[in-house]
Amino acid sequence: MSTLPLDDVQGVILRGFRSFRSISHLVFNIADVAGARRLCALLVPGSGAAMTVTQASPWSDKPEYCLNAGVTKRGLTKLIGATNYAALLQDSGTLMSAYDRGADDPVTAGIVGDTGDSAPAHWWQRDGGWALEGTAPSSAPLDMLVTIYTQTSEAREQFVQTLLAMIPAGADGTPSVKLAYRRDCDPLDPPDGIHFGYVDGISQPRVEGFDDPTKDDDRPTVPSCFFVVDGAAAAAPYNADPFLTNGGFGAFRVLYQDVAQFQAFLAQAGDQPAQDLLAAKMCGRWKDGTPIEVSPTGPDPSIEGFALSNFNYLSASPNQKNAAAKPDFDTYGQRCPYASHTRRTNPRDDTAFKFNDDMAQTHRVMRRAFAYGPEFAADPAAQRGLAGLFMGANLTDQFEFVMQSWMSMGGFRSPDVSPNKSGCDPLFGPQKDNTAGLSDFDCLPDSAALPPTRAAYQSTPGLDRFVRTDGSLYVFLPSVHALRQMGEGAIA
């Protein structure tokens, strides 16, 4: 039984909507503030409108759709006014500093790694999603994000049209809120797969007060204030104006995935088993989701459910699968390299990672991202990738910290004798304009003696920018009460 005020929290923050796999991300420009406020009021549950935001409270019956809404700094400023926005910033500076910068700010881009061909100047124009007539693609007019989750592509189109029809007319008789960008996501085979071939979305933070304890599940819970804003919580490293309470913040990302380059990199390993092993070392999981830490020799279908995430790196958790087979633990990253995507984004009990003295609790990110574009084999030249939200109460300490300190930079673990100090996240690859020392993926063969020497590492050269940013927004996901206040143009 949750202790959180779930009726006031948007569902997407705490619930995965995993069975709703036909998704549409709709980004709007607010052309008429009065009309936009009316739309906010309509989206409040109980308004009587055809569609409203989905709350985090449990369902009695599965809904036909789920909907979440967010606003950028520009959008929020329009809706509540500059004076109110400044007051929020004054009261909640820690929480809002990254949001106030925005995703397209040069400082943000530098922190997150959106440079070179991932730079904001290139966003919104390469995947064909731009929809704001008469304007060139840019972040400037993007004010609101609405995501609709449905179970079929037909239902998705129906509800998108329903939402568009809900938009009040502005003073000029045209829609007060204009669609500027649309990105649809559809399930691949398997449905939770991404274009690089991995099953995704396996390890999500367990939220204190929301996720019920499960027998034999050792995974630590994260205080809810790291996802649902609650400045009064003792664990919250921030102050929060009441307007922000029960809301959340997120980075909406459109990430192009270069499957051809990725496959070419893997091909260097040789035959298929060798490629599969290299892919597993890069990710930290076999493509079916089996953690290489738990099953180092290959996928293991018997490992399922929470057992897929129920493991540590330095000392086994009480109910960790196959732990008995590992007399020495993975201190040297021999099974799961420090450089692997999963280990560097969630180092678990590895406190030798810089500033991971709390099982990464203060840095976890809730992910709601799904594949877009056709399967690679069907149309190699098509645009494809991953789009969705990466959420946390504090973008600076969570999303940006992980992107910069653990994913982009090597040297995050000490000691780490690998030749390039674990370089960069191998699934993302180095920035095009910063490849020095970052273009190799190093891992330690199973046969290497421990402790390892630098010469023992096997380096695979040619890491490239496999994931390119094609769009990004920092959004505030208001609580129901804040959405209502936005409809009134107020913050109290």
Binding site: Y238, N239, A352, T362, S405, S414, P419
Partner: protein
């Protein structure tokens, strides 16, 4: 650095060394208390995971200067503003500090210690107490733990050093001259991080245990040692700044600085 046999010509941010040099204005008579609090903070790593290697602090120095104290050298050195004490912190550390700031300040124990530092500050005449970056504002709004970005801005106000200037060789400085450099930070071995050093000490945990043990520093016998000045810099017993555990993370260094704006000019009350 994938090839160990060629000179290092590129250093990623994680491998760069930087300096922190804080001049903190302190309530008159409070420098001693601040020094004691600093020592309390320095003992923090013994309570939790050993963070010494991860923090990347090579060396640090803290010194307190009492209001009106004369320079200990025949030239002006660190001097307190009139009516205040001065607390000076110097540190050399690895990597950019921006990503680490929140990690330090979100450590409840360290944040509580940093609050003690703020309680000792005297920012009168420097910043309005209503300013969100003032010590008074931070303390009245939940302290460092809940105000990390503002705390960083406070530190930047008193940081002479520039976190954007990495330790470099002289040839680096000649080859890549910075416009109007604030200072040159020499690095004998740029890129030689604490982590890199420890690669060669698999028994580091035995040599330098987390629960630090007393070390006897045997004085070197030199010509200088026969003079009044000690050959080995030993803490002045009149200033209770105990010798700190080796390589312990030094608290105010933790939240040091992202690419820093220039610190404002010191108030004119400084005496020469």
């Amino acid at each position: 650095m994938t090839d160990t046999n060629v000179p290092i010509t590129v250093l990623q941010p994680s491998d760069q060394q930087h300096m922190l040099l804080l001049f903190l204005p302190v309530i008159k008579g409070a420098a001693t208390l601040l020094a004691q609090n600093t020592n309390t903070l320095l003992s923090a790593p013994e309570a939790g995971p050993d963070l010494r290697a991860a923090t990347g602090v090579h060396f640090f120095m803290v010194t307190a200067v009492a209001d009106g104290a004369a320079s200990t050298l025949p030239v002006p050195t660190f001097q307190a503003a009139e009516g205040k004490d001065l607390f000076v912190v110097l540190s050399i550390y690895d990597a950019p500090f921006t990503p680490y700031i929140s990690a330090f300040t979100s450590n409840v124990f360290i944040a509580a210690g940093l609050n003690k530092v703020l309680e000792a500050l005297d920012e009168s005449g420097i910043v309005d107490p209503k300013d969100p970056t003032s010590a008074a504002y931070i303390l009245s709004h939940g302290g460092v733990f809940k105000n990390a970005p503002n705390f960083i801005k406070l530190l930047l106000r008193y940081n002479f050093a520039d976190p954007a200037i990495p330790a470099a060789t002289s040839k680096d400085a000649i080859a890549n001259p910075q416009p109007n450099p604030k200072y040159f930070l020499g690095g004998t071995f740029p890129g030689l991080t604490i982590g890199s050093i420890l690669q060669n000490y698999p028994n580091a945990a035995d040599l330098w245990p987390q629960a630090s043990v007393p070390i006897t520093f045997v004085p070197a016998v030199t010509a200088a040692s026969s003079s009044d000045a000690p050959a080995v810099p030993v803490a002045d017993p009149a200033i209770p700044i105990a010798a700190a555990p080796p390589a312990a993370p030094e608290p105010p260094a933790a939240p040091a600085a992202p690419a820093a704006p220039e610190a404002p000019a010191p108030p004119p009350s400084y005496r020469s």
